[in-house]
């Protein structure tokens, strides 16, 4: 499958790049045979109209101001204690911070010297108010520094990450700030949690730099989603099918169709023509995104199929986009698409939005839809095996049955609106075959964690993503003042039917 497409920093042309991606998708890695194949292709010119999907993904500037907070030296009694080597720890954390910033592409401006007084904090606050970073990171080096935390958050109004290495906080210190919107507290020695927090800031900036095409109805307008800052450009639904009709089965389309077939574990219903049409959907979507300066889309696909405006639903095209970090949502469900962005921007992996079905005999949730990203473990990781099917509701085109890894943890995440997120977790039990089941092609049985009755699972079109990401999603919510909720732990059906 020629999906992963990070070509913005390389010099490969489109065909060469697709070969790289295809092989990577197969788990071939980057080795000599691959470069040999690339070299053979070098002579062919790149089509002028090729759109690099990687360049559609938002790439915002992210600025974080950081400092160590300590008490005047030398330390005597009180935590972290006289034996705590301040210089050594600060050197270690400074190095880790620089590495994390580089990995994430975040600009971190760290104060050269630790701040050890209220006057120093106030001077720094004045600087922050002028510079307006996107977030602040304070690394505590003494329990006495907690009194500065709330004023920093309140006076700047800037999202605040508090890293309190073990030895600098009791539960009483952490509880209040942890409950304050705009503050994310990490009381731990686990540095990856700090990097994850920096990733939250980057994800928020990516939301702010995203324009999502909302392809539905007949209106053209633009609005902005509160808190997240995502721009929503509504365009008439017919725009897509009109552009689709103009899209020839050119070299890129044929290559994409060929890759689909080659990398599929099995092709059940789709014909070659279906594969070509599905690839045309993919290329059409990229053209529209580029023309509208957009980074994501959500389309009334079912309505288009019902009205017979396109020969294929876009399901497989959406798989290809999702695998390259471009959010492609179903059924014009805007907050479903924004939930897909959440996994893409914060967790660097695609998920799929699902129709939730309770399996009441086994007490499982079946999460079902006709498309899913395939790079479940991350954009940089090998793709999961998949089977090409048709779209089950219409028997048209190409849909994807992604085979999710049994036994692995998953997270279900859904923005109810910009101010509330549902977060649940579970574990993959099996992939459901259609038939005997009806419904959508990617259909995964999930044993929910800590939800007594599968009928109680909250939400619709929740996004399923591989791995247990509850803590990091909760952290994102804390940092940006979003309420997070979960499905009921105890059954609401325990009392039986009511008259």
């Amino acid at each position: 499958m020629s999906t992963h497409h990070h070509c913005s920093h390389c010099c490969l042309n489109r065909r060469q790049c697709m070969q790289v991606l295809s092989m990577t998708a197969l788990g071939a890695g980057v080795g000599a045979p691959l470069f040999q194949a690339v070299a053979e292709e070098k002579a062919k010119p790149a089509p002028k109209d090729f759109i690099d999907a990687a360049k559609l993904r938002p790439c915002p500037e992210v600025k974080v101001a950081a400092t160590f907070l300590e008490m005047p030296r030398p330390y005597w009694l009180g935590w972290p204690g006289t034996t705590y080597d301040l210089d050594k720890h600060q050197k270690t954390y400074s190095a880790l911070l620089a590495q994390s910033a580089q990995r994430l592409g975040v600009k971190v401006a760290r104060e050269a010297k630790p701040i050890d007084s209220e006057a120093g904090v106030n001077a720094w606050l004045a600087k922050l108010q002028a510079e307006k970073p996107h977030a602040i990171l304070v690394m505590l080096q003494h329990m006495g520094c907690w009194s500065w935390v709330a004023p920093i958050a309140k006076k700047t109004g800037i999202p605040l990450i508090v890293f309190a290495p073990v030895g600098t906080a009791f539960t009483g210190h952490v509880a209040g700030p942890s409950r304050t919107p705009g503050i994310h507290v990490i009381s731990s020695l686990e540095w990856p949690a700090v990097e994850a927090a920096l990733h939250m800031v980057k994800a928020k900036r990516m939301f702010e730099e995203t324009r999502v095409l909302w392809i539905r109805g007949d209106k053209r307008n633009e609005t902005v989603v509160e808190r997240l800052g995502v721009k929503v450009r509504a365009i008439p639904r017919d725009t897509f099918n009109q552009e689709f009709d103009k899209q020839p089965a050119n070299e890129e389309v044929k290559d994409a169709a060929s890759d689909m077939r080659r990398h599929a574990k099995k092709v059940v219903e789709p014909t070659d023509g279906d594969l070509v049409n599905s690839a045309r959907s993919y290329v059409t979507a990229k053209r529209l995104l580029a023309a509208e300066k957009a980074s994501a889309l959500s389309m009334d696909c079912l309505g288009m199929v019902q009205a017979k405006l396109v020969p294929t639903p876009p399901c497989f095209g959406w798989t290809m986009l999702q695998d390259q970090g471009i959010t492609a949502g179903c059924e014009a469900d805007l907050f479903g698409a924004i939930s897909l962005m959440m996994t893409s921007y914060l967790l660097d992996r695609p998920g799929y939005m699902n129709d939730p079905v309770p399996e009441t005999v086994k007490n499982l949730l079946i999460a079902s839809h006709c498309t899913s990203g395939s790079r479940l473990a991350g954009f940089e990781k090998p793709a999961a095996p998949f089977i090409l099917r048709n779209h089950s509701e219409s028997a048209l085109g190409v849909a994807t049955q992604i085979l999710w890894p049994e036994g692995e943890p998953v997270t279900l995440v859904r923005f109810s609106n910009a101010n509330e997120m549902i977060i649940d977790t579970g574990r993959v039990v099996s992939n459901v075959e259609t038939p005997p089941a009806g419904g959508c092609r990617t259909s995964v049985e999930i044993k929910m964690d800590d939800v007594e009755d599968c009928r109680d699972v909250l939400g619709f079109h929740q996004v399923v993503v591989l791995g247990n990401h509850r803590r990091v999603l909760q952290g994102f919510c804390e940092l940006y003042g979003i309420k997070h909720v979960r499905s009921p732990r105890t059954s609401t059906f325990a009392t039986g039917v009511t008259s």
Binding site: E222, T223, V224, E226, R486, T495, T498
Partner: protein
Amino acid sequence: MKATALIGGWLVAAASVAAVAAEPVAFDSPGFPPSSMDTQGRLVEDWAAVGAKLTGEGVTEGPAKVEAFKLDGMIPAARATSNRGAVRLIATAYRAPTFPAGVDVLSFRVEEARGQAAKVTLAIELPEKSRVGLRSVSLGTRTVLTLLPDAVVEREVRDWGYSDDAVSMPGWARPEGKCDPAFRNIRAGMGGVPIVYRFGVAPGSEATVVLGFCESHWAEPDKRPLVCRVEGARDQQVDPIAKWGQHKPGALAFRARDENGDGKLQVAVLPVPGAPDRNTILNAIWVFPPGPAPNLKRVLAGDLSAKAVRYVQVGGENDQSIFLPGKLEYPMTLPAGGVKELTFLAACHGGSAPIPEQAAWTTDTLRRAALAVWSDWPKP
């Protein structure tokens, strides 16, 4: 016209004044129907024309200059400027493209103009039937005006009433059996908005408060549990379905006390964190003199309503806001050269103003949203 006289006058007294714009000034956001500022400097919406009235020492009448301009060189906007003796008044309006339908941002800037302190009152003209909440104004179930934090100041209040941004829903409940008529109605805090009432009492005094509930939406428990918070009493959590059942009126009694001694007894119903349904509801409130708790069966039946110091059919006929209807007044004391600005969010065509408890918008983010949208919107 004496400059020192107490004079009240609308922002622009008459359209015939020479400086008044001959035509209303329209403004919009990409793809949405426009709103306009009329020749009197009022913001014209599908629910009302919102204007400002100035009164105070040294305030005179005066024409306004209404003009179109671009905020940040990009955002279509309307502005009405009038010299009013002691002060200068500038009304500005533009459309912020909030999802899904946008909202009009209306600001009133009052500038002291004579180089000496001025005391004035700015009143916002509202429709007669509008209900003024804590931070919002509603018409029926539509929130039409949101008061941003700067516009929430001490206001004249009644002796009792609701002080929140919930909505009244008369006839919502279907109580079964003989019960007080209050159980037919509710107020609902959509999306987790707390329902809050304040009752005037002798400072520090005690009372018995009874809250009445009738859940008619859910049939099963654990969907809409509620936290009841009555000043001076311990919080009580209640799940009306688990405790009484669907359509079954129920009541809870509280020993209340004006704990902070401010002469107001506060009663609130809040959502339980994490509840599947966070919309709060409340049907009835009785405030009884202190003493033994009343017989709740008789309260439910409506037998004791006449004996209550306060009896509120929440969302029903005798309910009221603690704020005076159709009236938003802002007394201002401006030092020499001083400036005061108030900003409101007005529902525009087909939409509602944001509910304050749920919205994260600020004047800064609204302006940035407008700029972001106009910056990339294709030019005709």
